[in-house]
């Protein structure tokens, strides 16, 4: 055995060829706070991946600022081990991540290294593809308008702020208002969305500057809900360097693009872009780029615009895949007019606005239906949902106007009282608990019941339980109605007539 090993080693040594040639190198002249200045490297490319030879081994870095006499780089690894005088080599590659279906169910860092302790991600080294973190967005010709819904499983969103596959919908709100919960529900809901006819959506959750405990909890929830098998988590926790946090959304986007290019539908959640902007501000200030408003650099808008522009619905010739983006922004005391919120609002195709007042009133998800919009999603909404949701929006809007008169209920005329009662019941049915998304056909049924007066006789506080019972009955006795709505996405006259008679039957259970 040892003889064999020795012979193999001898052969390896004999076959070893090493051509010495001139190489472009640089020397570290300044280092600190995860940033270094390199002399030399006059041939370096922008965003090129560099390797710094340190005493403890090689450390990766990205060329950020190409100046006349030096290159400003951002260190991706252990910045403490980099010393003045260390040699820097070019790799000729821009920053990229290895992607493949093997990533499903895994937790990785923005450079593709496993963080979940489940071992190597790619066993076969030739299999994964290198996807650049920075890539230009699909052109106008490559795109198609949004036409397929992406159901979140949240009644208020699917009915009033519908999201389409390929859309960019911002989730915005103060801290602790349920922003991540909406994204998480959407991911969990994709399990029940997948059917024989329609393939499921691959979900990528990008955690930027989040607590590790939060990420661990999220992974556990996904695992419990059997949602981890089609999800990928890219984590750049608060303890990671700003450079890694800056790269995380781009890594998540690159992974999503891989699935989109293969004709699949992907969803990427950026949680959150406020912290991403903060990380980029830190890097820019350390690199001595001029600060602008709120000390953010001048290209902060471009940073988010180029990231979110990569969300697209590709045309049939390119496989028809899609990449939906759900960026999250955290506001301070509900101030949506701050720099980063206004930027991202203007980039995205709509926003789901969450309010802490509503949250503390017990209206959860705390969606402000008046300020939330979806600019393109309605064209992707299923016909059945469109039919019932139109009435819901109108009645809720009327209720909001009359809400001020609720306390004078006894002095109001019958019609106004009725409208207020209906509004209260509609508000009640839109309440939903975390991690329990509702399939769209059931949502259609619930909203149909509420908008057509089937719940008008029920006490407001009992609406949810009665509604659940009625749905349960319909599911057991008239399964075909729900099945038909799910399969066709429509509610034709025949189905509606059937539904009416069945609801009359189960009314008051």
């Amino acid at each position: 055995m040892s003889y064999e090993i020795i012979e193999k080693l001898k052969k390896e040594i004999a076959d070893y060829k090493d051509e010495t040639k001139f190489d472009h190198i640089g020397l570290v002249t300044e280092v600190g706070d995860g940033i270094a200045k390199i002399a030399g490297l006059s041939k370096a490319l922008s965003q090129e991946l560099l390797t710094i030879e340190t005493k403890k081994g090689e450390v990766a870095a990205i060329a950020f600022n190409l100046e006349e006499n030096f290159v400003g780089v951002v260190i991706l690894g252990e910045a403490q081990s980099v010393k003045v005088g260390d040699r820097v080599h070019q790799t000729g590659k821009v920053v990229s991540i290895k992607v493949g279906p093997e990533l499903l169910g895994r937790v990785v860092d923005p450079l593709g290294n496993s963080l979940d302790g489940k071992g190597a991600i790619f066993v076969d080294k030739d299999k994964p593809k290198d996807y650049p973190l920075e890539r230009s967005a699909p052109s106008v010709v490559a795109r198609e308008s949004v036409n397929t819904p992406l159901h979140t499983g949240i009644k208020a969103v699917d009915a009033m702020i519908p999201i389409g596959r390929g859309q960019r919908e911002l989730i915005i709100g103060d801290r602790q208002t349920g922003k991540t919960a909406i994204a998480l529900d959407t991911i969990i809901n994709q399990r029940q969305e997948a059917s024989d006819k329609r393939q499921g959506v691959i979900c990528i959750y990008v955690a930027v500057g989040q607590k590790n405990s939060k990420v661990a909890k999220l992974v556990k929830t996904l695992e419990e809900k059997d949602a981890l098998r089609y999800s990928i988590i890219v984590s750049a926790p608060a303890s990671s360097p700003a450079s890694v946090q800056y790269l995380a959304p781009f890594a998540g986007c690159a992974i999503g693009e891989f699935f989109m290019d293969h004709g699949q539908d992907a969803l990427v959640v950026y949680d959150d872009l406020s912290k991403h902007a903060d990380a980029y501000r830190q890097l820019s200030l350390l690199l001595r780029r001029p600060p602008g408003r709120e000390a953010y650099p001048g290209d902060i808008f471009y940073l988010h615009a180029r990231l979110l522009e990569r969300a697209a619905k590709l045309n049939k010739e390119l496989g028809g895949g899609s990449l939906t983006a759900l960026p999250i922004i955290e506001t301070q005391l509900g101030d949506v007019s701050a720099y980063i919120p206004t930027n991202v609002i203007s980039i995205t195709d709509g926003q789901i606005y969450l309010e802490s007042d509503l949250f503390y009133k017990g209206l959860r998800p705390a969606i402000n239906a008046g300020l939330s919009v979806s600019r393109v999603g309605s064209s992707a909404q299923t016909k059945a949902m469109k039919k019932v949701a139109g009435k819901l929006r109108l009645e809720l809007a009327q209720f909001r106007e009359l809400q001020a008169f609720v306390q004078f209920a006894s002095d109001l005329d019958e019609n106004t009282k009725k409208q207020i009662g209906r509004g209260q019941r509609l508000t009640e049915i839109l309440k939903q608990v975390d991690n329990e998304p509702i399939p769209f056909e059931k949502q259609v049924l619930i909203i149909y019941m509420a908008t057509n007066g089937y719940l008008d006789d029920v006490k407001v506080e009992e609406v949810r339980s009665i509604c659940d019972k009625m749905i349960d009955k319909v599911e057991k006795l008239y399964e075909d109605i729900l099945k038909k709505i799910k399969e066709t996405g429509q509610m034709d006259e025949e189905t509606e007539a059937k539904l009416k008679s069945c609801l009359e039957e189960v009314r008051g259970v």
Binding site: Y16, D18, T20, K21, F22, D23, H24, I25, G26, L27, A39, G40, L41, S42, N69, R87
Partner: protein, 122 residues
């Protein structure tokens, strides 16, 4: 620092004769003392030297070896370069064996055992 280097080399190029050149040098050192940048005098002098070598189409060459090179080896290495080039020798035991040549601070020919071993095990 670059401004000092540019200004000094241009001022030196504009005059002829040893006396005038000496005057430029003495004025330059006075200027450095006045601005307080005399602390970085060594760095500025090295940068000026480099600039002057480059201006005369010469190269700034640094040869590193693990041990002191013999005279014949040093001569043989020097003969590979032009007379205009500025060649310095350094000893770096980390290289184990062989030489590493750095031209103008960014083009490197690494023929050391250290580098070969690193590449082999990468």
């Amino acid at each position: 620092m670059n401004n000092y280097v540019e200004a000094f080399t241009e001022a030196l190029a504009e005059v002829s004769g040893t006396a005038e050149k000496d005057k430029v040098i003495s004025n330059f050192s006075k200027l450095l003392r006045r601005t307080g940048d005399i602390k970085s005098g060594a760095k500025i002098a090295a940068a000026i030297h480099k600039k002057m070598v480059n201006n005369e189409n010469g190269k700034w060459v640094n040869i590193e070896s693990a041990r002191q090179l013999s005279d014949s080896k040093s001569r043989s290495l020097k003969s590979k370069f032009s007379k205009k080039d500025n060649i310095t020798f350094n000893i770096n035991p980390e290289l184990v064996a062989g030489v590493r040549i750095l031209v103008n601070g960014e083009e490197e020919l690494d023929n050391t055992l250290n580098q070969k071993l690193n590449r082999l095990f990468r």
